[in-house]
Amino acid sequence: MFANPLVAIVDDDASFRAALEGFLRSLGCRALGFASAEDFLQSGAPDRVGCVVSDIQMPGMSGIELARTLGARDRGAAVILVTALAGEQWPRAARESGAVCLLQKPFDPQELALCLSRAMGG
């Protein structure tokens, strides 16, 4: 894993976003939080981050669309998708969007750590 890689968290739920930021910091990452996919895309961060952890269900652009948008770029960051909804459609939609991982809330944070190392190391 790179030293202090930069990771973006995109989730409209402020407390969950803050919790993930804290967890990533404890992993040695630098974390940037965004309340929506649009905010993130307009921030200039997409070119700097190594990885994006995004919720699927958000007002405006969904996490799936965000993964697709980033996947279409030349040098897009790896995307880890998170959902709180149980649904058979999500794993397939996540795969097709180019996301590297799909986690269902509430998830074991160790799984996120594994996903991160896969996304940035692999």
Partner: protein
């Protein structure tokens, strides 16, 4: 004999005629002319029996005249206008064998009619009193009147209701001083012992008034003293053997009976009505509860999502804490900061569970002051996930005075969540869906508006919208709006449905403002 005496007789207001024992009329005064419509000249010299067409008189009258020389009584006679009159006549026979008979007469037709009308009226009243399905009481209020008169004279009392409220013992004393004069059969059936008569009810009214109902008795006395024509209130009364029951108590204070010191009181036993109302209310509560549970079912995925957010956050905090502790040396400041966040997220999860539990509860509704702004805010929280998932923008315009209504909080919540859910579902195919939630006041009413930008309600659907089992959706029982309207109705309100000029539906919940007005900071 005629001229001088006639002039004198004319001064007498009663009719006077003088006749021989055989009935030949000798004298006829002016009052007789007026009463019978016959001039003196045409009356004198004729026989009374022919003149009045009634014969000489009743047998017993003639017999009394014969034996005692006097008689008086009422006789029918044709009057001046040709109609029959009742004339009260007095006969006196002079001394001697050829003595004439003096008859004085007074027209009592009108008096008789009035007496008859009064008798009929009293008869009718007695019949009503006895036969009505309501319990009627005739009370002797005179001793209470005396007590109040003395109090008023002493100048100590300016405000009767206040005085009664401050002196409960006085109220009980007034009850003891109020005696029952008469009661009807229904009263015996309602208040008496099974198989008992009315005699045991003819006593003071005190045993029939439970302590808790004293205020109603006091209010009725205050109404009577204050000159009100009548008084009526729902209260609880007690039978002679101590059973309490809900009753409608009415008293009327007509001036004539009040002057006599008697009072007419009516009581209607509301036991069955109240029991039926309670059964209906229980059924409505059960239906409202069933609808809430079904609504929770529809929202299950959303609720799970809402709870998963804080749970996920807690898991992340725990994992982060573990890592900070594993460092050498442990980063205790980081862990300390995390603990606060864990607590906050746990509270948030508990809060969501609490809301769901309140919604799921089947407790009997407890009407109390409910600030409507908080209800709107709660509904938005409750539907948070549905709102986000559907990408709906929410616009709330809350009344600054924070109006309060008297309602059951959970049920009112249910109404608003139900209407807001309908609005979200109506906008499923609407681009840029917008849910507008508004509170306001108009007169003594509080309004909660729930509007959407969906297709609106079709005109042909509007009249049936609140009917049970009416639905335009493929799923659902069509009970939501019927139950919502039922809930509003129980708190003295209603729900109106319509379309906004700019498109979309508008539902307006209209409730009376809570007496006591506005609670600025009610604990939510």
């Amino acid at each position: 004999m005629t001229g001088g005496l006639g002039g004198f007789l004319d001064l007498i207001p009663e009719s006077v005629l003088l006749r021989r024992t055989d009935g030949l009329i000798l004298e006829w005064n002016a009052a007789a002319e007026t009463l019978y419509g016959l001039p003196r000249a045409r009356a004198i010299g004729r026989f009374a029996a022919d003149l009045f067409g009634t014969g000489a008189g009743p047998e017993e009258a003639l017999a009394a005249l014969e034996s005692t020389g006097a008689w008086e009584g009422a006789l029918p006679r044709p009057g001046a206008d040709g109609r029959d009159r009742i004339v009260h006549v007095r006969w006196r026979r002079g001394e001697g064998p050829e003595a004439a008979i003096v008859e004085t007469g007074r027209d009592i037709t009108a008096e008789r009619a009035a007496a008859e009308a009064l008798r009929k009226s009293e008869h009718r009243y007695r019949n009503l009193f006895q036969a009505m399905a309501a319990s009627f009481w005739e009370l002797d209020f005179f001793p209470v009147g005396e007590m109040l008169y003395r109090l008023r004279k002493s100048g100590a009392v300016a405000d009767w209701p206040g005085h009664f409220a401050a002196n409960p013992a006085l109220v009980r004393e007034m009850m003891r001083a109020t005696r029952v004069i008469d009661v009807n059969e229904q009263t015996v059936a309602t208040f008496g012992r099974a198989g008992g008569g009315k005699e045991e009810l003819l006593r003071s009214v005190e045993p029939f008034w439970p302590e808790a109902s004293s205020g109603v008795f006091a209010a009725s006395v205050a109404a009577a003293v204050g000159g009100a024509p009548n008084f009526s209130a729902e209260t609880r009364l007690r039978t002679i053997d101590g059973r309490e029951f809900p009753a409608l108590f009415t008293a009327c204070f007509p001036a004539d009976t009040m002057n006599k010191g008697t009072l007419l009181v009516g009581v209607i036993d509301l036991s069955e009505l109240v029991a039926a109302q309670q059964a209906l209310a229980r059924m409505q509560d059960e239906m409202a509860h069933a609808a809430r549970v079904s609504m929770l079912g529809e929202l299950a995925a959303s609720i799970a999502h809402e709870i998963n957010q804080p749970l996920g956050a807690i898991a992340a905090h725990a994992a982060a804490g573990q890592r900070w502790l594993d460092r050498d040396p442990p980063e205790l400041d980081e862990v300390r900061a995390l603990m606060a966040s864990v607590g906050a997220d746990a509270c948030r999860a508990a809060d969501i569970v609490g809301r769901v539990r309140a919604m799921a509860s089947g407790h009997a509704p407890e009407p109390g002051p409910v600030p409507v702004n908080a209800v709107i805010a709660d509904a938005v929280t409750f539907l948070n996930h549905e709102i986000r998932r559907s990408g709906t923008r929410v616009e709330t315009r809350l009344c600054r005075s924070d109006p309060v209504v008297l309602a059951d909080r959970v049920q009112l919540q249910q109404v608003v969540v139900n209407l807001a859910m309908n609005a979200l579902q109506a906008m499923a195919d609407t681009p840029a869906p917008l849910l507008s939630l508004e509170t306001g006041t108009r007169g003594g009413r509080v309004l909660l508006g729930i509007a959407d930008t969906g297709p609106g309600v079709a005109a042909e659907v509007l009249p049936r919208l609140f009917d049970s089992f009416f639905t335009t959706r493929a799923t659902g029982m069509g009970m939501g709006l019927a139950i919502a309207r039922g809930i509003a109705g129980r708190f003295g309100g209603e729900i109106r449905a319509g379309n906004r000029p700019g498109g979309g539906a508008l539902f307006e919940v209209d409730l009376p403002v809570c007496p006591g007005g506005i609670l600025a900071h009610t604990k939510v």
